[in-house]
């Protein structure tokens, strides 16, 4: 832990105090009044002693931080700061510990937090916590801890900086998939072509028939068998989750994005995170995540908490790009996918995958052309988007 004496500075009160001292000294010298000289000495003493005491207050004082490794955007979290006084004698009064978080790759001002320790006895440790939330996803670096004090009189301030590097990954905010989305996934008949495509991407192959159970949708009822058996019978499908699906996240933004453009990017990321969260909750199924961003990221894993964690880490750090790499990325991805594995594209912009001219690389290969035809594309402007996804609460 690198520790450097940052600096000692005089506070505003110290400047005023110096002014009073200077006045006293001037009056004493000009008027030759010895008692004013005494008063000057009485004023000078505390200032000089403050200079020594304020340095001594931070001697052998070491801070430490306990912070979570990951949080979700908008989620409230706490960080515990502890101060240890390593001296054998003499406690420290009025210590401030300032912690800052800086988002990587961002020019936004640091988010600061300050804890206050009124008294840390010699040889002991005291703790304090600060709490808050970060609205934007990203990778945040904890800046060096700054311990400062102005004890005993607030005339001088000294600060020590402790390099205690740590990182906080703020995952995208997780919304919720609405019941409309789930019904869409389970109902073939009610689906629009797009929805059917979407459902098809998630549903699996016909597996067999079983008795109806509460919760089964009407779309799954096999009427012929039910009539024959005189009891409701439903189709049972091999869960596509065993086949998994591919999620393509297209984070495109204009060259000079407006705040609305950037907001769309966040919405798309949040959607992707929510979708993956739902998928990983379902159990073991292969997942492919392809993020088309400034730094393209690919993730291949089986749906699990670890995979979700990894995916969220990826989504936390990605930044949008103005390069249009969608066609190429899709061509590469679809070429790798198994035929049974469905795909979903979420994008910040309206995309017509059936545009042969734009996505010629996809349409020139029959297999890819078929896949493209049944790959749904969702954007924040879609009705389906609004019906099926509720963003994270503010």
């Amino acid at each position: 832990m690198l520790r450097r004496l940052h600096h000692m500075s005089i506070c505003r009160e110290g400047v005023l105090y110096l002014g009073v001292m200077a006045f006293m000294l001037t009056a004493a010298v000009v008027r030759q009044i010895n008692l004013l000289m005494v008063l000057y000495g009485v004023l000078a003493g505390p200032l000089l002693l403050s200079w020594r005491l304020v340095r001594w207050t931070l001697k052998k004082v070491e801070p430490a931080r306990q912070a979570p490794k990951t949080v979700f955007a908008g989620e409230s979290f706490t960080v515990q700061v502890s101060l240890s006084n390593g001296r054998k004698r003499g406690g420290s009064f009025a210590l401030h510990v300032r912690d800052e978080l800086k988002r990587r790759g961002s020019s936004e001002p640091n988010v600061a937090a300050e804890t206050y320790f009124s008294f840390v006895p010699a040889g002991e440790t005291r703790t304090a916590t600060y709490r808050g939330s970060l609205k934007r996803r990203g990778i945040y670096d904890f800046q060096p801890l700054k311990v400062s004090s102005r004890f005993p009189l607030g005339l001088l301030k000294t600060m020590l900086r402790f390099d205690r590097p740590a990182r906080l990954i703020v995952f995208p905010a997780i919304g919720r998939m609405s019941s409309a989305w789930r019904r869409l996934l389970t109902s073939e008949d009610q689906a629009t072509p797009v929805q059917r495509q979407a459902r098809a991407a998630l549903d699996g192959e016909f597996y067999g028939l079983r008795d109806w159970r509460p919760g089964d949708g009407r779309s799954r009822v096999h009427w012929r068998t039910s009539a024959r058996r005189q009891t409701l019978t439903v189709r049972q499908y091999e869960r596509r989750r065993h086949l998994g699906f591919a999620l393509v996240v297209d984070l495109w933004r204009p060259e000079k994005p407006s705040p609305e453009d950037l907001a769309r990017v966040e919405q798309v990321v949040s959607f992707a995170a929510t979708l993956l969260s739902e998928a990983c909750r379902g159990g073991d199924q292969p997942l492919v995540v392809d993020v088309i961003a400034a730094t393209p990221r690919k993730l291949r894993a089986s749906a699990s908490p670890n995979a979700l964690h990894e995916a969220l880490r990826v989504l936390a750090g990605v930044e949008a790009t103005s390069d249009d790499r969608l066609s190429k990325s899709l061509a590469e991805l679809f070429g790798e996918l198994r035929p049974q594995m469905g795909a979903i594209l979420v994008s910040t912009r309206a995309v017509d995958l059936l545009d042969r001219e734009k996505f010629s690389a996809l349409h020139c290969v029959p297999e890819l052309h078929h896949r493209v035809a049944r790959t749904p594309c969702l954007t924040p402007d879609d009705l389906l988007w609004r019906e099926t996804f509720a963003g994270a609460p503010p």
């Binding site: 009044i33 000495g41 003493g45 505390p46 804890t115 005993p152 607030g154």
Partner: protein, 795 residues
């Protein structure tokens, strides 16, 4: 620790104390009482019952006090209007005490209190002010410390509240927290100790600054602290008809160092000292005044070369405070210390004067005197005692008489009012007493008659000393009344009575005004005279035939006396022996002496600190001390003596001359020296042990392991720092994971692992790297640094 409550109490004390100090300086009992009453009421009303003046009422109250102060200022003289300003500050403080105790108001109250103390410092100069200032200092430092803690907590709470609002607005923010553990008495105790330490340190630093800051010119304040009474002090005339209680003024008048001029060694006189000032000869209507005489020499007292031998001469080095009179004091006879003198000297009055311009300043002068019997040769006096006979040194008179053959004449006014008359009705009783005392002594034995009269007043027991004025009838001469009726009075009555009694029996006499006794300061080797040591005694003129030459120590003095006669010093004032004993041994007296000494220090080294004193009392002694210490410590003989002393102390006497202790001592010194060398070398980091150990250590600290230090430096620039609980391997593993995450660093993510493996081989396997391996490591470091930091690794 309930900071807020303690803060309010301390502030209340501070404000009361500041106003009290101001009130004492002004002499205003009302203001002092108001300070206490208002302070108590304000605390009860505001801090207990949470009352606070609203804006309107406080503004109204402020307006009222402004008008009150303006009215007061209007009624005062121009030079006193500063007191009205000071009172205004006190009134404003009263108003502020009833307002809500915000941080700003607390600070204002403290500031106003301090300003009152600043004004009080211009009015108060007594030792009591110093004590009050100490108490104020302690209270002030305590207040500042508590105020600081209060403001820090408030500042933190305000920041937390702002963060809470930011969070509610949906912005990124963190609400800071205060420490979880609550502290109680422990922190209060430590805080109090810390503040007390600050006060002690402040006093020491204040003393240092006060002494060290150079003065330009003189101090402007040297006030007389006794109010409303007549003071005992030197005056160039005596008025026996004045009434009023006499208070003893402890103000310092002068300090006298006596030295042997040849050796410079201090000389400590024996017996009581008489520092002579001037003489008064004319008496009338209860007043003694100086004669009309112009026998002033602008060249100062006579030169020492007038003495055939310099033996027995003592140097008087006198520092006299500013006085209203230009008269200065000395033991007589007095001689000039150098070739020239800036003093005026009255040959007949035996009076030395400084210039009128210098009488308002502290003045230092040196005068020589043979007045002390150093060797006691041919004199029936005690060695070291001041002579009671002062030969008259007047060359002009001597030359005149040699030319004319006349005898020394007796000035007529030394016998008035008995000149030409046998008796004076107004002093008939006095004369009768005098005649009764000397009736059995021959008239030509002037010395014995004078001594008898002195003894009558001093030792008969019929007269007592008192500073309490007596109610004396206005139709009787005060001296007559003193001798015949009310035989109680102070030294002026004793001296006046003795002089008159001497004159009534045809012995020429005059009164001398000066200082008697003084206080011996064993630390500084000086005598210190205060105003209360002012004294009057009598001088009798003895013709050359009447001088008892055996009471003069040296031939020179006898020669002078033989030429022009001499003055015989008589002191008829009785000493209050029993009272003296009681006072010198009582605890109260000891305490008073201590307070007097502190007062002396305060008057001289605080109030009276000026450029001259600073130079003489601070800079010069300090410099001399430093130089003397340096010379002493660098003197070979000093060290030889010390070693010899240690040798004699350590080694038994019987062995001191044998070779054994020398051998043992030599051996011990050699061992000590070797140990010292070993410690120094070890501390400087040179390796101990043989060459193998050196090589081994070199391997560990050689550049082959330095590469790991460089690796950590490279990674550190990417904010990858090893924590205390991580091994090198764990740290590198974590770092590699970090690097593998990012595409731009993925390619070099493996390099740190290779470097740390090499480190472990060297550090713990104790195997040095070969040349190719070192080159590989170097390349890896360079590549890593280029990728991570964009710059080559520095060796």
């Amino acid at each position: 620790m309930n900071v807020e409550r303690s803060l309010r109490i301390t502030l209340g004390l501070l404000s009361c104390l500041g106003t009290l100090m101001l009130a004492v300086g002004e002499g205003s009992v009302g203001l002092a009482a108001a300070a206490i009453v208002v302070g108590v009421i304000a605390y009860v009303a505001c801090d207990v019952f949470h009352f606070a003046l609203t804006g309107f009422w406080s503004n109204l109250a402020t307006l009222v006090v402004l008008l009150l102060a303006a009215w007061q200022a209007n009624a005062m003289a121009a030079e006193e209007r500063i007191l009205a300003m000071a009172d205004l500050m006190a009134y404003l403080q009263f108003v502020l005490l009833f307002r809500a105790k915000t941080a700003r108001n607390l600070w204002l109250i403290a500031l106003v209190s301090f300003l009152q103390v600043a004004v009080a410092s211009a009015l108060n100069t007594g030792l009591g002010f110093a004590v009050a200032l100490l108490i104020y200092l302690f209270t002030g430092v305590l207040f500042l410390g508590q105020f600081f803690l209060y403001r820090e907590r408030r500042r933190f709470d305000d920041a937390a509240e702002a963060a809470r609002r930011a969070l509610a607005d949906g912005r990124n923010a963190f609400i800071g927290g205060a420490q979880d553990e609550k502290e109680g008495r422990r922190s209060s105790r430590e805080f109090s100790r810390r503040m007390t330490g600050m006060v002690v340190g402040t006093v020491a630093l204040a003393a240092f600054f006060f002494v060290a800051v150079p003065r330009l010119g003189q101090s402007a304040w040297m006030t007389n602290q006794i109010v409303g009474g007549r003071t005992v002090g030197f005056s160039e005339q005596i008025n026996l008809t004045r009434s009023g209680q006499i208070a003893e003024d402890p103000d310092i008048v002068m300090r006298v160092h006596f030295k042997n001029p040849e050796t410079g060694a201090p000389f400590n006189p024996a017996g009581e000292l008489y520092m002579r000032g001037t003489a008064v000869t004319r008496y009338g209507e209860g007043r003694w005044q100086r004669p009309h005489s112009n026998l002033i020499s602008r060249d100062g007292p006579p030169q020492l070369t007038r003495l055939a031998t310099g033996r027995g001469v003592v140097e008087q080095h006198v520092t006299i405070e500013p006085l209203s009179s230009s008269t200065i004091f000395s033991c007589y006879p007095a001689f000039r210390a150098g070739e020239t003198s800036e003093l005026d000297y009255h040959r007949w009055l035996l009076q030395l004067n400084r210039s009128e311009r210098s009488k308002s300043q502290r003045y230092t002068y040196t005068v020589l005197t043979p007045a002390f019997h150093l060797e006691g040769e041919q004199a029936v006096v005690l060695p070291g005692e001041q002579a009671k006979i002062i030969p008259i040194i007047d060359d002009n008179a001597t030359a005149d008489r040699r030319r004319t053959g006349a005898e020394p004449s007796i000035p007529a006014e030394l016998l008035k009012p008995f000149v030409g008359v046998a008796s004076v009705p107004a002093l008939a009783g006095l004369q009768a007493v005098a005649l009764d005392v000397v009736r059995n002594i021959p008239p030509d034995d002037v010395y014995q008659r004078a001594k008898a009269l002195e003894d009558h007043l001093r030792n008969s027991g019929g007269y007592s000393y008192s500073l309490t004025p007596e109610e004396r009838p206005s139709d009787i001469d005060p001296l007559e009344d003193f001798v015949v009726n009310r035989r109680r009075g102070h030294c002026e009555f004793f001296a006046g009575a003795l002089a008159m009694m001497l004159r009534s029996v045809d012995i020429p006499a005059r009164i001398v005004l000066g200082y008697r006794g003084g206080e011996w300061n064993a630390v500084g080797n000086f005598y210190q005279f205060r105003q209360l040591h002012a004294h009057s005694w009598v001088e009798v003129y003895l013709t050359p035939m009447q001088v008892p030459l055996n009471k003069l120590a040296t031939p020179d003095l006898r020669r002078f006396a033989n030429e022009n006669g001499a003055w015989l010093q008589l002191d008829g004032t009785t000493s209050n022996t029993s009272a003296d004993l009681a006072t010198t041994t009582s605890t109260w007296y000891q305490l008073r002496q201590t307070v007097d000494y502190l007062q002396f220090l305060w008057n001289n080294y605080v109030l009276g600190m000026d450029a001259l004193r600073q130079r003489d009392e601070v800079y010069k002694p300090l410099l001399n001390n430093v130089v003397a210490t340096f010379k002493r410590e660098t003197n070979r003989d000093t060290w030889k003596a010390r070693v010899a002393e240690i040798y004699e102390t350590v080694v038994p006497y019987k062995l001191q001359n044998s070779n054994l202790p020398t051998a043992v001592l030599s051996a011990a010194l050699i061992v000590l020296a070797l140990l010292l060398v070993f410690l120094v070398v070890r501390r400087s980091g040179a390796p101990a042990g043989g060459s193998a150990a050196i090589e081994k250590r070199s391997a560990a600290s050689s550049p082959t392991v330095d590469f790991y230090v460089r690796l950590e430096a490279v990674l550190g620039r990417r904010r990858l720092v090893r924590t205390a609980d991580q091994t090198q391997s764990e740290f590198i593993q974590a770092a590699c994971g970090e690097l593998a995450e990012l595409p731009e660093t993925r390619a070099v993510a493996i390099l740190p692992r290779k470097i740390v493996e090499a480190f472990y081989r060297v550090r713990f396997g104790k195997r040095a790297l070969e040349g190719t391996q070192q080159a590989e490591i170097e390349q890896a470091l360079l590549k890593l640094d280029a990728v991570l930091n964009g710059s080559p690794a520095k060796a």
